[in-house]
């Protein structure tokens, strides 16, 4: 029993690297209370031994990006679920292999202002067609490299093509890009777009 638990702990902790959490209280903090309705709700920030969304065991945890918008009226905190690159992709494979769950939701937080914006993170490689929701804000991202000799990652142009393809798929009537930014990751960058369907 002890050996099994030791192996289980080692494999889960080394294989899963949740970087940060959202605003929900952590399970361990509420473990001694008895609030089962909230305690047994799935939270994207948790370490999952079994992920019902993907059907996979020991699926990677959630990569949390915290980003404060330039506007003083709003702060955005987003939760991404890591993405699998499809095997038949025409583009260079990513060096990172991750799960591809259904779209995750994230919540934009505000400062003292009472307004809030809901931003839904989409997987650029997910070809599922979701209903168009005019006025709803979406966010997508694609990894790219600025190093000329790096064939393992997409170029900035290729990443932009993919992003535009996803926006066209999600918003066939057109879209308005709200924000664009890049964040460094392991020598490459993540290109982020936030957009709304027209």
């Amino acid at each position: 029993m002890k050996r099994f638990l030791t192996i289980l702990v080692a494999s889960t902790i080394t294989g899963l690297c949740p970087i940060a959490y959202g605003d929900d209280e952590m399970a361990v903090d509420s473990a001694d209370d008895f609030n089962p309705e909230s305690f047994h709700k799935s939270k994207p920030s948790e370490i999952k031994v079994f992920d019902s969304a993907s059907g996979k065991f020991f699926s990677r945890g959630v990569d949390v990006d915290a980003d404060v918008a330039d506007s003083k009226e709003q702060a955005v905190k987003k939760v991404y679920l890591e993405q699998d690159r499809p095997k038949n992709s025409d583009h260079a494979p990513s060096t990172t292999t991750l799960t591809a769950p259904s779209p995750a939701s994230s919540t934009a937080l505000t400062n003292a202002a009472s307004t809030s914006i809901t931003v839904e993170a989409l997987d650029v490689f997910d070809n599922t067609e979701y209903p168009v929701d005019t006025g709803k804000r979406y966010e997508i991202r694609t990894r790219y490299t600025l190093k000329p000799g790096n064939s393992a990652s997409l170029s900035a142009d290729a990443a932009t093509d993919i992003m535009h393809g996803k926006m066209a798929q999600q918003c066939p009537q057109g879209w308005e890009k709200q924000r664009e930014w890049s964040l460094p990751v392991e020598g490459d960058y993540y290109l982020h777009y936030q957009f709304e369907c027209l």
């Binding site: 029993m1 002890k2 638990l5 289980l8 702990v9 889960t12 902790i13 949740p18 940060a20 959490y21 952590m26 399970a27 361990v28 903090d29 473990a31 001694d32 209370d33 008895f34 609030n35 089962p36 309705e37 305690f39 047994h40 799935s42 948790e46 370490i47 999952k48 031994v49 079994f50 992920d51 019902s52 969304a53």
Partner: protein, 357 residues
């Protein structure tokens, strides 16, 4: 005939297993170590005076659910104590709160091993919860995790919620051992109000590990400051048998009560205590202080006990913190019952670290 049987079995099957699916299985836990200097002086006799690397309630847990249908879930939780300082022994992987049960619009019903509703009613008022010399369990009885517990929690009723637990008695039912052998010899319950800045709770134990207890708890948050308070009265449910007050508390007062009983047959029948705590968050630092005053008495005399703890947490991230603390517990002398000097326990936490996952 065959077609009717097939139709009937299909209908029955759909009713029995309507859209059931397994939800996420999640692992969680925390690892906590602190380098502490501990002194235990019992009426001038030094019981301990050394440095130790201690762990405060480090744990590993698994939780999950299965959705039976749109209005019913099976829920479960398994949690184990871990001792990362390497001195676990029998404590390593000892079961903590664990249960299996059903959850629906009716509330949640579980069975297993769990903190009693009275213990749960403390909320976050104990700002040094689980610290070896800071936890309120070293002054106040009723901090119980009970085996064989069946517990029901109401669905949320606005800001109110209630929990009721029953536990069978510990007797086997054989002749001569059948005093506490019924369905629900021990009962624990709470009623909690939690809304915005206010927390208020009532907790009651009836014959839980031999004690009858009533506890009132409250907390109020003003910005970055939270003030907590608790008042409790407890009495031995049956002086002729079972566990008494000395079996339900830890620390200096427990040693004093045991020694008094050994030396002079003093048995505490009643207990009163009150607690004040404060927590003040200043950027990444959280300052904390807690004071408890408790009295253990019978019709002729009493032992007074005080517990004071101060400390500070430095928050590195949502999951990691460093902390320091100092605790002092004094069970006062009472020569009439053989306690010829104060029983003083002090603990200085030089530096501790906690990581949650």
């Amino acid at each position: 005939m065959k077609q009717k049987l097939l139709s009937a079995s299909a209908i029955v099957s759909s009713l029995l297993i309507p859209n059931a699916y397994a939800g996420d299985v999640t692992v969680y836990g925390k690892i906590n170590v602190s380098y502490n200097q501990i002194e235990k002086d019992e009426a001038g006799v030094i019981e301990q005076d050394n440095w130790e690397l201690e762990t405060f309630a480090s744990r590993l847990g698994f939780k999950g659910f299965e959705k039976i249908n749109d209005s019913l879930k099976a829920v479960y939780k398994l949690e184990y104590q871990v001792v990362p300082d390497g001195e676990g022994g029998d404590r390593e992987f000892k079961a903590r709160n664990s249960y299996v049960g059903l959850q629906g619009s009716f509330g949640t019903l579980v069975a297993g091993n769990h903190d009693t509703p009275l213990k749960q009613s403390q909320g976050k008022v104990d700002v040094f919860n689980d610290y070896s010399l800071g936890d309120i369990a070293l002054s106040i009885p009723g901090e119980r995790r009970e085996n064989d517990i069946v517990m029901y929690k109401t669905p949320a009723m606005g800001a109110l919620s209630g929990t009721l637990a029953i536990m069978p008695g510990e007797d086997s039912g054989a002749a001569g051992d059948d005093e506490d052998d019924s369905f629900a010899d021990q009962i624990s319950a709470n009623l909690i109000y939690k809304q915005d800045a206010i927390y208020a709770a009532l907790g009651i134990d009836d014959n839980v590990n031999g004690l009858d207890i009533i506890r009132l708890t409250g907390a109020y948050t003003m910005g970055d400051v939270t003030i907590g308070a608790m008042y409790q009265e407890a009495e031995d449910a049956d002086l002729t048998q079972g566990n008494g007050l000395s079996d339900n508390v830890k620390g200096a007062i427990s040693s004093a009560l045991i020694d008094a009983e050994t030396l002079t047959d003093f048995v505490a029948e009643d207990q009163q205590s009150f607690l004040l705590s404060v927590k003040w968050k200043i950027n990444s630092v959280v300052l904390k202080a807690q004071y408890i005053d408790s009295t253990y008495e019978n019709s002729s005399t009493e032992i007074d006990n005080t517990q004071m703890t101060v400390g500070a947490d430095y928050i590195l991230s949502k999951r990691t913190k460093l902390y320091v603390h100092y605790s002092e517990i004094v069970a006062e002398q009472n020569t009439a019952i053989g306690i010829n000097g104060d029983y003083e326990y002090t603990g200085m936490g030089l530096l501790g670290m906690e990581h949650k996952f």
